[in-house]
């Protein structure tokens, strides 16, 4: 029961402004209003994140894209220079670009998810800000940054003739879609788990580094001995979506191993677990 209509009684100035300033407005939102409020909060968090991380000097928020570009382009250039230009019949540059863009998205979203709640705990003073908003804002920023960077790197590589344009764009979009799906679920889980365990937080760097082979970034599943392929095919959403992207980029030059059914089920499961953990995490967040 809401009793406080003091807001309405107070003040002689225009009623409209008072109404807008009233906190009671956010008290019992309809589903649509709650949805709008969540959008507003996530947008505010993204803007805040951009300002705290990149400041207002020089290129400012363009670093959101600039950082992954330098990563992906740097690795692509170095690998193109030092490795043979074809391996197993596919172009080296294209292998690096198709592998490194998803890997960057995964590593960056994971990096930003670690202890995301504790470092942002001062924002939880505002009742409208929830842990889900905090982690979604961070993840969206990384995902959008990496996708834009990936598009630019791909455009550059194709434009300068280091790789052919993708044979099937649909599979490229689909693969990137599943990578994003996976990264969102994964960052929800990691944000909650690292909040609960300091040990896991410290181990995250090692875990992410050691699991690079499991992501299938630098090779294709078909290059593995047939009886070991299941290790990536049946357990790794990352490897499955990278295979899907490569199927789109290389077309008939490669034999891809991926399953849309596996991707959908594993990513959905991860997202549901992640959402459940995010819903439960609030009382465990250490406030600074």
């Amino acid at each position: 029961m809401y009793l406080g209509h003091v807001n309405m009684r107070y003040n002689d100035s225009s009623g409209l402004i008072m109404n807008r300033r009233s906190a009671a407005r956010h008290q019992f939102p309809s589903l649509w209003q709650a949805f709008l409020a969540q959008g507003r909060v996530i947008f505010a968090l993204i803007m805040r994140e951009i300002h705290t991380r990149y400041g207002r000097e020089n290129i400012g928020f363009l670093w959101v894209i600039g950082e992954p570009i330098l990563f992906c382009a740097g690795v692509a250039i170095v690998w193109t220079a030092i490795r043979p230009s074809y391996e197993h019949g596919v172009q080296m540059t294209a292998m690096v670009v198709t592998g490194y863009v998803p890997l960057t998205m995964w590593r960056h979203t994971m990096g930003r998810a670690v202890k995301a709640y504790e470092v942002n705990s001062s924002l939880l003073f505002h009742q409208l800000v929830t842990p889900l908003d905090i982690i979604l804002a961070r993840t969206i920023l990384e995902v959008v940054g990496t996708i834009l960077a990936g598009a630019i790197v791909l455009g550059g590589a194709v434009g300068f003739g280091y790789m052919k344009a993708p044979a099937d764009w649909g599979l490229v979009y689909g693969g990137m879609g599943f990578i994003t799906f996976f990264c969102v679920g994964f960052s929800l889980v990691i944000a909650a788990l690292t909040e609960l365990s300091d040990l896991l937080e410290k181990a995250m760097g090692i875990i992410s580094y050691l699991s690079i082979p499991w992501t299938g970034t630098f090779f294709m599943i078909d290059w593995m001995p047939a009886h070991y392929r299941w290790i990536l095919e049946d357990t790794s959403p990352m490897a499955n979506s990278i295979e899907m992207i490569r199927a789109g980029v290389f077309g008939l030059d490669v034999v891809p191993h991926y399953s849309i059914f596996f991707l959908f089920v594993s990513c959905m499961l991860l997202l549901i677990i992640g959402l459940y953990m995010t819903k439960r995490i609030r009382p465990y967040i250490k406030l600074s």
Binding site: L3, A37, R40, L287
Partner: protein, 217 residues
């Protein structure tokens, strides 16, 4: 009518393996429009209680029933991002509460009077300036109940005068919950008191009784 009601509220912190009970099954009722002082020694759990009322900390057990809108706790730390300027923090608050940016800016600049430092990072502010910003921003949103944890007291005379104007005169009908060790301030502005001691909340019959009990702790 009750603005706020706590029933069997407990808060337990776990530091390493030790379990520290801060509040043990306490009850609290705050009537609408009342100005309640929370007294107690350092570490008694006053700020913890305020944070739970503001929905920042979660109680280990018990319920808090709110019948009105309650502000975030106005305290040192929290609510602001230190590396951002006062102005950026204002924009953030405007965005989440969907306030009109220009109106709020005018109001906050006028109330906080931070001058050019409004555009400097909050972490470079003195505690008085921090308090001015915190107040201005929270008054830009019309809450029915304000939670104040010490911050007014660090302001200069002029700021206290302004707070008095805005909070006690213009918004005299609001509920207020104040934590402070400044008894003169409490005598001037509060009309009820509770004392937190030894994990319990002790209701006092009058503010003066509360202050006497506080001094005899």
């Amino acid at each position: 009518m009750l603005a706020l009601e706590c029933k069997k509220l407990s808060k337990v912190y776990h530091v390493g393996k030790t379990r520290r009970v801060v509040l043990d099954e306490v009850d609290l009722q705050v009537e609408m429009g009342k100005k309640l002082a929370i007294l107690g020694r350092n570490g008694a759990g006053k700020s913890t209680l305020i944070k739970m009322l503001g929905g920042v900390e979660y109680p280990t057990a018990g319920v808090i029933k709110k019948n009105v809108t309650v502000s975030w706790p106005l305290a040192f730390g929290g609510a602001f991002q230190g590396s951002l300027s006062g102005h950026d923090n204002l924009k953030f608050v405007c965005r989440i509460y969907d306030l009109d940016y220009k109106d709020t800016l005018t109001y906050v600049e006028d109330f906080a009077q931070l001058g050019r430092q409004f555009y400097d990072p909050v972490k470079t502010y003195s505690s008085g300036m921090h308090a001015r910003l915190a107040f201005a921003l929270s008054l830009a949103i019309e809450f029915d109940c304000y939670l104040i944890d010490e911050v007014i007291m660090v302001g200069d005379a002029r700021f206290i005068q302004r707070c008095e104007d805005e909070l006690f005169n213009k918004r005299g009908d609001r509920t207020l919950i104040v934590v402070s060790h400044n008894m003169d301030f409490l005598r001037n502005f509060c009309d009820e008191a509770v004392l937190i001691h030894d994990k319990k909340i002790h209701r006092c019959n009058s503010l003066d009784e509360g202050i006497d009990r506080y001094y005899s702790l």
